[in-house]
């Protein structure tokens, strides 16, 4: 297989959480990546993945590592960005159950830990029509719930009961589940298509 040496570089926000799992998938797909931990790192990337983790911790570290403002600007200017689970919270405009200020970029209302504590974590089939998938393995760990989305935003992933668990708006994708914990890399490939050469 030929190496994608000319491929744009993907940043994986590496402040806290399961960024290594995303990195392993990018490595397998032979996509150049860097771990983003400073504002300078943001200048080297063409797309960003915000991983799962503890959203309060990630938001605080965005601030103490001086990434917050620049990141917000970059995403608003069109940086392709994908947030998984905690990443969804970081990007949302309104979050129930969080006292911290998020990036406030996406017109969605999200409730943290909406399904309950760890005992209520679950796995379920997710349907993603764009990928022609009815049974994407959805892993929901103390997951947030998307309660409301603006009319401009397209749902891309749903549970059997119709609950929205993934959305897309322009340069941004959000999933409340963790594709990085599965063997299925189709959502990673889908995100990579958003990034221009």
């Amino acid at each position: 297989m030929k190496k994608n040496t000319n491929y744009p570089t993907i940043g994986v926000l590496g402040l806290q959480g399961d960024f290594q799992e995303h990195i392993e998938i990018l490595t397998k797909l032979q996509i150049p990546y860097i771990k983003v931990t400073s504002s300078e790192d943001l200048d080297k990337i063409n797309g960003l993945i915000i991983p799962g983790g503890e959203s309060t911790t990630i938001i605080k570290l965005l601030k103490t590592n001086n990434i917050f403002k620049k990141l917000k600007k970059k995403i608003q200017l069109g940086l392709p960005t994908w947030g998984t689970c905690a990443g969804a919270i970081v990007l949302a405009k309104k979050v129930t159950g969080l006292k911290l200020e998020t990036l406030k970029i996406l017109e969605i209302d999200v409730a943290r830990n909406a399904y309950g504590r760890q005992k209520e974590s679950f796995s379920a089939d997710v349907s993603i029509p764009k990928l022609n998938k009815n049974r994407f393995p959805g892993i929901f760990i103390r997951a947030p719930k998307i309660n409301k989305i603006s009319s401009k935003i397209k749902p891309i992933a749903k549970l059997k009961n119709g609950e929205i668990v993934g959305i897309e708006e322009k340069n941004i994708i959000v999933t409340t589940f963790h594709p990085e914990l599965t063997q299925d890399d189709s959502l990673h490939k889908y995100f990579l298509k958003k990034i221009s050469h």
Binding site: L15, G17, E21, T37, G53, E54, T57, L61, N65, S123
Partner: protein, 308 residues
């Protein structure tokens, strides 16, 4: 039909275990802080802790108080669960599966079957596979780690020597586990089989570890971490996150100093390989835990000697 039901229930268990390992994966690169009151839990959350460990006393006080250390009071754990939105862990005595049942009923997110409390069973650890709630367990070496994983632990931490503020044991345990993992590589099939017997574990787990060059669950450092530099040291040695026990709230009586230290440790774990940032966060520290050298303890005072 009966066969089918059995298969399904096995799948449910496998799924749950994956979800439980998954929560530990979400904690990676983070700091889990011991707290004894809802206010301390809030301080930890404000400092950026990814989880808190709800306790009645921090290990250094347990050490000083002597007597029998048990699971914390139910109401205390409940009040800490209510105070914060990050995951809450709590400790049970080694082998005390009823304390674990109670914690599961409370709804804590992780159970630490911990040598810091007085062991309840000298022979058996808890059969952790019987629970829906995930467990973290301490280990001094690979054999202990794998035995705990085989019993169902979804996360491992070094035992270190809790309550001392002395990092030496945590370093020893992390190095030992790493070296033992590397040494699996050179073993012939016969030797690996012998090793599995020696460790009293199924050979399949050892084969899996040999192939992936790491434990099948997340591995944190614990026991004696008192400064941002200690935390970064453990990260550079390959740990995937850290527990801080007595280190924060035994450093000072002052809220502000405690918060500064807690924040500094959180930032140090993220930036563990950046000396300039480590210097910067270390310069903000005005007070650290006095501690007690692990070397000065006789064997029966060492909490890490409990459980095997």
């Amino acid at each position: 039909m009966a066969g089918k039901t059995k298969k399904n229930s096995k799948n449910v268990k496998v799924d749950q275990h994956k979800l439980n390992i998954g929560l530990a994966q979400m904690l990676k690169g983070g700091v889990i802080m011991d707290v004894v009151t809802p206010d301390q839990a809030k301080l930890a959350e404000d400092a950026g802790a990814c989880s808190v460990m709800a306790l009645e006393r921090v290990p250094s006080d347990i050490r000083a108080a002597g007597g029998v250390a048990r699971m914390s009071h139910v109401k205390l754990i409940e009040s800490i669960c209510k105070a914060v939105s990050i995951p809450v862990m709590a400790k049970v005595r080694i082998g005390h599966f009823v304390e674990a049942q109670i914690l599961e009923s409370i709804g804590v997110d992780y159970i630490d079957e911990s040598e810091v409390l007085t062991p309840a069973d000298e022979q058996f650890h808890i059969q952790k596979n019987n629970f829906k709630t995930p467990f973290v367990c301490g280990a001094r070496n690979l054999g202990e780690a794998v035995r705990r994983i085989h019993e169902g632990a979804a996360m491992i931490r070094t035992k270190g020597e809790a309550g001392t503020g002395d990092i030496v044991e945590a370093v020893r345990h992390m190095r030992t586990i790493n070296e033992e993992i590397i040494s699996l590589n050179k073993m012939s099939a016969v030797k690996l089989n012998k090793k599995a017997k020696e460790m009293r574990v199924p050979i399949a787990i050892l084969k899996d570890i040999r192939k992936n060059k790491k434990l099948p669950v997340v591995n944190f450092a614990a026991g004696g971490i008192a400064t941002p530099a200690d935390a970064a040291l453990m990260m550079q040695l390959g740990s995937e996150g850290v527990f801080v026990g007595s280190g924060i709230f035994k450093s000072s009586e002052q809220y502000r100093e405690q918060l500064t230290l807690a924040k500094s440790i959180v930032k140090a774990v993220t930036n563990y390989d950046k000396p300039d940032i480590l210097r910067n966060v270390s310069s903000k520290i005005t007070s650290t835990m006095k501690g007690q050298s692990a070397d000065s303890l006789v064997n029966n005072e060492k909490l890490s000697m409990r459980g095997n």
